[in-house]
């Protein structure tokens, strides 16, 4: 058999650019990367299997620990699914507090994703600026929930703690600080000639591949697809949410789309705080048996929980569909196909914001 590739180049599992372990196997011809394949399984914990047979109260804490970066959204989606099964309604103030918290979580997740990309293309200065800005968002999260990560803030029927007027004012101040700083960093990213050379026209995802692969989240929106679960949420539409898309579909577009979404999240938080009215933050209710499939928009895309609980309150069936699964697939099979240089493998992979802990659970 004739050998068509020169070198099979493994990247990972422990690699300076990766936050999490995963191995990318690249088939190279000269400097050109012909095909890539991803090898997962390093952080498999079997969370769904642990959940089955447990009471629903325990699944909330387990769901939160599917992913540490977007723990808030996993908490929100499982609680909303349980509420839908039992027909529990949420007070308006609690709904708004959930929206504010989810957008704060999106801000810190997007800043971390863009930091990782800047670090991967060796622009550490901008990366460190973004990581420092993320600490401001983490402070707001801590002020609201009491802890930085794994807050368990969303509980069935509402939220755990109220937001005082003082803290709301501090969060508003933080949003203005983030916006002022972000404008400077986005200008650095947009106009930096070296960043443009390392990002523009690299890792292009064609429309056919995007449609065929079921890609979600910022990766899909950077390819021009209008995929966002928030468009069906009446509260988000009321707060002035609109779809942001780009058409270039390269690494540069994906990072710029996250920057654009950061501005929108800041506006949503401000509108949410302005709409807060005094009132209850938690409703009562009774858990019932049933099965439901619930989707909301995580920082990385559509997050779906398919959960069934019986009359004793035990989980009979649970299936988690995280956004990283299609995004990792499309990154390895479509975006990294025929890359001009092996140096672009890690940056293209990171630009899709893969979360291995989410994908393997």
């Amino acid at each position: 058999m004739k050998k068509v590739v020169d070198v099979s180049l493994p990247v990972g599992p422990i690699h300076p650019c990766f936050k999490e372990p995963c191995r990318i196997k690249c088939e190279t011809r000269g400097e050109r990367v012909v095909t890539t394949e991803v090898e997962l399984g390093y952080v498999k914990k079997g969370i769904e299997k642990i959940m089955i047979g447990r009471p629903w109260q325990e699944t909330i804490f387990l769901a939160e620990r599917v992913c540490g970066i977007c723990s808030v959204v996993h908490n929100t989606v499982i609680v909303e699914a349980l509420e839908k099964i039992s027909g529990i309604t949420v007070p308006r103030r609690a709904g708004l507090l959930r929206l504010i918290l989810n957008e704060l979580d999106r801000i810190q997740s997007h800043l971390l994703a863009n930091y990782s990309y800047c670090y991967t293309i060796e622009h550490e200065t901008l990366g460190m600026y973004l990581l420092n800005l993320r600490e401001t968002a983490m402070d707001s999260l801590e002020m609201m929930t009491g802890t930085r990560v794994m807050a368990a803030y969303v509980v069935p029927g509402g939220v755990r703690e109220d937001l005082s007027a003082d803290n709301a004012a501090k969060i508003l101040e933080a949003t203005y600080h983030i916006e002022a700083e972000l404008k400077r960093f986005v200008r650095m990213f947009e106009t930096g000639p070296m960043i443009g050379l390392r990002s523009k026209g690299i890792g292009v995802l064609s429309m056919e591949d995007a449609l065929a692969s079921g890609v979600v989240g910022p990766t899909a929106r950077a390819a021009g697809l209008s995929r966002d679960a928030r468009k069906e949420d009446p509260l988000y539409l009321e707060m002035g949410w609109h779809m942001i898309t780009r058409t270039e579909s390269d690494n540069y577009a994906r990072i710029m789309l996250r920057f654009d979404e950061l501005y929108q999240s800041l506006t949503l938080i401000r509108n949410g705080i302005a709409a807060l009215e005094p009132g209850k933050i938690r409703n009562g209710g009774e858990m019932k048996a049933g099965r439901i499939k619930h989707t909301i928009e995580a920082p990385r895309g559509d997050l779906t929980y398919d959960i069934e609980i019986d009359s004793a309150g035990q989980v009979v069936f649970v299936s988690i569909q995280t956004p990283s699964i299609p995004n990792i697939e499309v990154a390895t099979h479509a975006m990294m196909k025929n890359l001009a240089s092996a140096a672009d493998v890690t940056s293209t992979f990171i630009s899709a914001d893969p979360c291995i802990a989410c994908a393997e659970r």
Binding site: Y42, I47, R65, G68, L112, V149
Partner: protein, 159 residues
């Protein structure tokens, strides 16, 4: 103490290379380690460099409760780290498995079954300041007069 030993102590105190290994954590501890890099905590002012390369590391930070894939790979990775070396585990998972240690689990904690652990930082996840103080505390004890202690150990073994 020889001048060479004093020089080694001085150099090692201000140059600790760190590699973090995720053996099945949820990312929560990993992003707190990343937060240590941020200018607010500024881990590099203490001379700690996060390289993520086991071949030039002094301290290995392990997060996560040993998923099946790592059971053969983590001791391998530990062998590749040059002496003197230490392991600091971050979070509850390497100690007990935290919430994942339930019937039907895949993970196999604790990590100390597989490699020798010097220090453990509990918490789900611990704060960045706790991680930094743990690394600095463990490094001081381990790397100071390392050669002298090694010689004492060998001498004790012979006599």
């Amino acid at each position: 103490m020889s001048i060479l030993q004093q020089l080694k102590n001085a150099v090692r105190q201000r140059s600790i290379h760190v590699c973090y290994v995720n053996t099945g954590s949820c990312n929560g501890c990993d992003i707190e380690i990343l937060a240590c890099l941020a200018p607010r905590y500024d881990i590099e002012q203490y001379g700690i460099y996060v390289h993520n390369n086991p071949r030039e590391a002094d301290v290995i930070l392990v997060t996560g409760g040993m998923s099946p894939q790592w059971i053969d790979k983590l001791p391998d990775l530990w062998d590749r780290v040059p002496e003197p070396k230490a392991v600091v585990t971050i979070g509850n998972c390497p100690i007990s498995g935290c919430v994942f240690n339930r019937p039907g689990k895949l993970i196999d904690p604790p990590v100390s079954k597989y490699i020798p652990v010097t220090a453990a930082v509990p918490g789900c996840p611990p704060r960045p300041s706790e991680i930094i103080s743990a690394i600095l505390g463990a490094a001081d004890i381990l790397f100071k007069d390392y050669e002298v202690h090694q010689k004492e150990k060998e001498g004790g073994g012979q006599s």
